[in-house]
């Protein structure tokens, strides 16, 4: 793994999709009017004959994608996460998921990474996609995972929801990082608690573990990019050897990663305390920048440290996370 602050790259998803599509004639690319924002201007330029502009009409786009999949295509459907899940939910259920069609729904700008207010903040997309029978749900953390996830999902028989950060994408993992659909990855080992995170919260979890380690608390950090189907084996094994589990998701704590992990822990009969970091049954709001929202709603690295400290019942004030100086084009955890 690389160290913080992370270097960033632009359009790793768009590049990876074009690379994959050049080897796979069955891939078609659909957009709901956010082409550059979803990095698929690259696809539009390089493979225009398989690029379909659906306009701002997400319901039609989803049902159309289902029909294209019935004819042997693998549609990758793109828009912001809010518009990819909330508005066309019925179409995703009836036109895609119920017929078990291999449509890949790619929702950008997760959680409070958008300062654009509740209309643009996908805070329950994981929960509602996870509730759909047969839907695979993935929230990746960096450019390396993105590039490795695409070939891993292309041949899944049913539908997939892929949740992606927009804009500058950090490079956290080494190039030889292994992405597996059936495995969460233990990134570091510790005995005092485990932090399970994914997506934009993974780098925050790693940073929180650093701060905790300096204060004498050793944390296991588990990366769980595949929220459904979740890797029960790894999560149960980790939960059995620590006294407490902290989950972290850029999402409401209802129905997402934290809920999925609680389900595993409860069903496996593991008596361990859990705390869930995420939006606590609230909408956020618009702001000038996103990091202030992560801080305000308890999703910052400091919030993770504070919650871990409280979860373990440690005395005194929680250690303070030192800000990492960030140069232009670099990424520090929220």
């Amino acid at each position: 793994m690389r160290s913080q602050p992370y270097a960033t790259v632009l359009k790793p998803y768009g590049r990876a999709l074009v690379d994959l599509a050049k080897t796979r004639e069955d891939i078609v690319c659909l957009t709901g009017d956010l082409t550059r924002q979803c990095e698929i201007d690259l696809f539009q330029d390089e493979i225009p004959e398989r690029f379909i502009h659906a306009g701002m009409a997400e319901a039609n786009m989803m049902s159309m994608a289902g029909a294209l999949a019935r004819r042997g295509h693998i549609p990758f459907v793109h828009t912001f996460g809010v518009f990819a899940t909330r508005r066309p939910f019925d179409q995703i259920v009836n036109s895609i998921a119920y017929p078990k069609l291999p449509v890949r729904i790619v929702g950008f700008m997760p959680g409070v990474s958008s300062p654009g207010g509740p209309s643009h903040q996908a805070i329950e997309d994981v929960a509602i996609m996870r509730a759909i029978p047969g839907m695979t749900v993935i929230d990746v953390a960096d450019a390396v995972e993105i590039a490795k996830a695409l070939p891993a999902i292309v041949d899944i028989p049913g539908p997939v929801y892929l949740r992606l950060k927009r804009g500058e994408i950090p490079v956290i993992f080494d190039d030889d990082h292994e992405f597996r659909m059936d495995r969460a990855q233990v990134l570091r080992d510790g005995d005092d608690l485990a932090i399970a995170a994914n997506g934009m919260m993974l780098s925050a979890a790693l940073a929180a573990a650093d701060t905790l380690a300096a204060a004498g608390v050793s944390a296991t950090v588990v990366n769980v990019p595949v929220v459904k189907p979740i890797d029960r084996t790894t999560i149960a094994a980790v939960a059995r050897r620590v006294p407490a589990v902290l989950t972290a998701e850029n999402h409401t704590i209802v129905g997402g990663l934290g809920s999925a992990i609680c389900e595993v822990i409860a069903e496996e009969g593991i008596g361990v305390k859990v705390a869930r970091v995420g939006l606590n049954d609230t909408f956020a709001e618009g702001s000038r920048t996103a990091p202030s929202l992560f801080a305000k709603y308890g999703l910052s690295t400091q919030s993770l440290v504070d919650r871990a400290w409280a979860l373990l019942g440690r005395e005194g004030a929680a250690p303070v996370v030192e800000a990492i100086p960030v140069a232009e084009g670099e990424y520090a955890p929220v």
């Binding site: 319901a59 994608a65 029909a67 009836n94």
Partner: protein, 267 residues
């Protein structure tokens, strides 16, 4: 296109009605009105235009699947005897169409989404250079209340999907009553035309007129709609005037009278 006498098309429509009455009679109630209003529309389509090996067939409102099932034997797409299983536990002939439904390429229980699927098929045909393939979509007037349908209408016109033919059953019936009493849809033809479609407005119980309009719709290079003006009680005089078009009650005595009326006309 084969030439067919009006008499033959009328008989096909009545055979669709008779099969639908028998399917619904087994339960005492059901989606009979949909079959009665669309009998000529589906009959003319099946008899004169639709070729299952070449074309796609979409039934957008799942409740109309009864019409496709009842028309199926006309093209040898389903065994007549299987129709008796309609609506019973374990049958693939479910009362509201599902993924199990035979005959059709797509049927949608959630209203207003079928045309989007048809648009997807038309795009797929274009990408596969299947120039002869047509996509026929049966929709109901109530579905025009759904926004998604108009998203699909816009998309089809912009992308010049001339292989699309919509058969619109304008029976003025939805669950809460006459469509016209709930949402003003008229002028339907002018709306489609304004969106860039060809529109043909016909008496939906004149089977020959329906077939001719379908031929014109198919020939037009634009996506096209044939609007059939229909009634959910047409062709079954024994039905009471206040019969609920969406979900008709058909007790045994009324069912026997209905069967007798249709058998007499087909004799």
């Amino acid at each position: 296109m084969t030439t067919t006498s009006p008499t033959r098309l009328d008989a096909i429509a009545d055979r669709i009605r008779l099969r639908a009455v028998r399917m619904v009679a087994a339960h005492g109630f059901g989606y009979l009105g949909q079959a009665l209003s669309s009998a000529e529309l589906v009959g003319a389509l099946f008899a004169d235009h639709y070729e299952p090996d070449r074309d796609d067939l979409v039934v957008s409102p799942g409740h109309y699947i009864i019409a496709a099932f009842a028309a199926g034997p006309e093209l040898g797409l389903i065994d007549e005897a299987e129709l008796a299983t309609y609506g019973f536990d374990g049958s693939r002939l479910e009362a509201i169409g599902t993924e199990k439904s035979p005959i059709v390429d797509l049927v949608c229980g959630s209203l207003g989404s079928g045309l989007s699927g048809a648009v997807g098929f038309a795009l797929a045909n274009r990408m596969a250079d299947k120039d002869d393939a047509r996509v026929f979509t049966l929709i109901s007037d109530g579905e025009l209340e759904e926004g998604q349908l108009w998203e699909a209408v816009l998309f089809a016109a912009h992308h010049r999907l001339g292989s699309l033919t919509v058969i619109l059953d304008a029976n003025d019936s939805q669950v809460d009553g006459p469509v016209s009493s709930i949402t003003t849809l008229e002028p339907i033809a002018a709306k489609f035309e304004a969106f860039g479609w060809a529109a043909f407005d016909v008496d939906g119980h004149n089977a020959e007129a329906v077939s001719t309009a379908l031929a014109s719709a198919i020939a037009d290079p634009r996506p096209a709609v044939v609007i059939g003006r229909t009634s959910t009680r047409h062709g079954l005089d024994v039905l009471p005037p206040d019969a609920d078009g969406h979900f008709i009650k058909l007790p045994a005595e009324l069912a026997q009278a209905a069967i007798a009326e249709l058998e007499a006309r087909l004799a």
